[in-house]
């Protein structure tokens, strides 16, 4: 059952970097291999399922990120109430999991979403990340899964100098501390 607990609830601003936790956001993990599964997601969410690696698609309500050839990550654009979250989860569960097309897992409490904005956010991330952001930062909608300061993250390039970063709850406070500490020196 969702309770939307969050360990951070904070916003920090530095020179050309703004870091804020955005919660509660609905996050659902979708896994499936068949073409029917891919079609079903698109139909239920009115969104094109991204099948190209490291890409995403969006509509007014949701973002759908490619994680691997048989895994996608859905999250809401705006903050969402438990009632609406449960409704969507149940809808997807009934249409996908129940008919054994794939799996639907609500991971809203598993991941924490941190929004980063500003001209120097890639400098901040590069301070502790092996990923090459040169092409990524110019590709709107690009997605990557990588490590920051040895912590697993999913990064979604929403717009120019506007990222959503997802980190596991248990690592979120540590990553938050690291980002704030690093941002002071950039």
């Amino acid at each position: 059952m969702l309770n939307f607990n969050t360990p951070i609830i904070d916003t920090k601003e530095y020179s050309e970097i703004k870091i804020s936790e955005i919660e509660p956001i609905l996050k659902i993990n979708l896994r499936g291999k068949s073409r029917d599964f891919v079609t079903k997601i698109g139909k239920e969410l009115s969104i094109i399922t991204p099948v190209d690696p490291n890409t995403s698609s969006s509509n007014e309500k949701f973002n759908l990120l490619w994680l691997s050839p048989d895994e996608w990550f859905l999250y809401s654009n705006d903050k969402i109430g438990i009632k609406d979250a449960n409704f969507l989860e149940n809808k997807l569960f009934n249409e996908i999991s129940k008919v054994k097309l794939g799996s639907v897992t609500n991971v809203s409490d598993h991941w924490i979403m941190i929004n980063l904005r500003g001209a120097k956010i890639f400098e901040l991330l590069s301070a502790g990340c092996p990923f090459n952001f040169n092409n990524f930062k110019n590709s709107k909608g690009a997605v990557t899964q990588t490590l920051i300061n040895h912590i697993d993250v999913i990064i979604h390039n929403k717009n120019v100098n506007d990222l959503n970063l997802f980190v596991r709850r248990s690592f979120s406070a540590h990553l938050w501390s690291w980002m704030n500490d690093s941002a002071r020196f950039i």
Partner: protein, 91 residues
């Protein structure tokens, strides 16, 4: 440190991957019929050669998919990367 071209995600740093040892070791069809020595041979014994080797790797901090790699263990030069289930490229 070296770069690995994940067949799904593209070129990434080695720190995102974990090595899974020698590839294409066929599991015995009837393990119960094997002697302890034969079972130990399958489970533990690896060639561990110096030179070009077929290996399994996992993109642990990315797409989490397993794939195969042809790597020279003496200088970390990667000759080829191919998906699970595919045959290794000809030498």
């Amino acid at each position: 440190m070296f770069l690995i071209n994940c067949p799904y995600c593209g070129e990434r740093d080695q720190s995102e991957f974990s090595a899974g040892g020698e590839a294409h070791i066929v599991r015995p069809k009837q393990p119960t019929e094997l002697s302890d020595d034969q079972w130990a041979e399958f489970l533990f014994m690896r060639k561990n050669i110096k030179g070009v080797q077929l290996e399994r790797w996992n993109h642990a901090h990315g797409c989490r998919k397993w794939f195969n790699m042809v790597r020279d263990t003496s200088n970390d030069k990667i000759h080829a990367v191919y998906k699970m289930g595919e045959k290794p490229p000809l030498k």
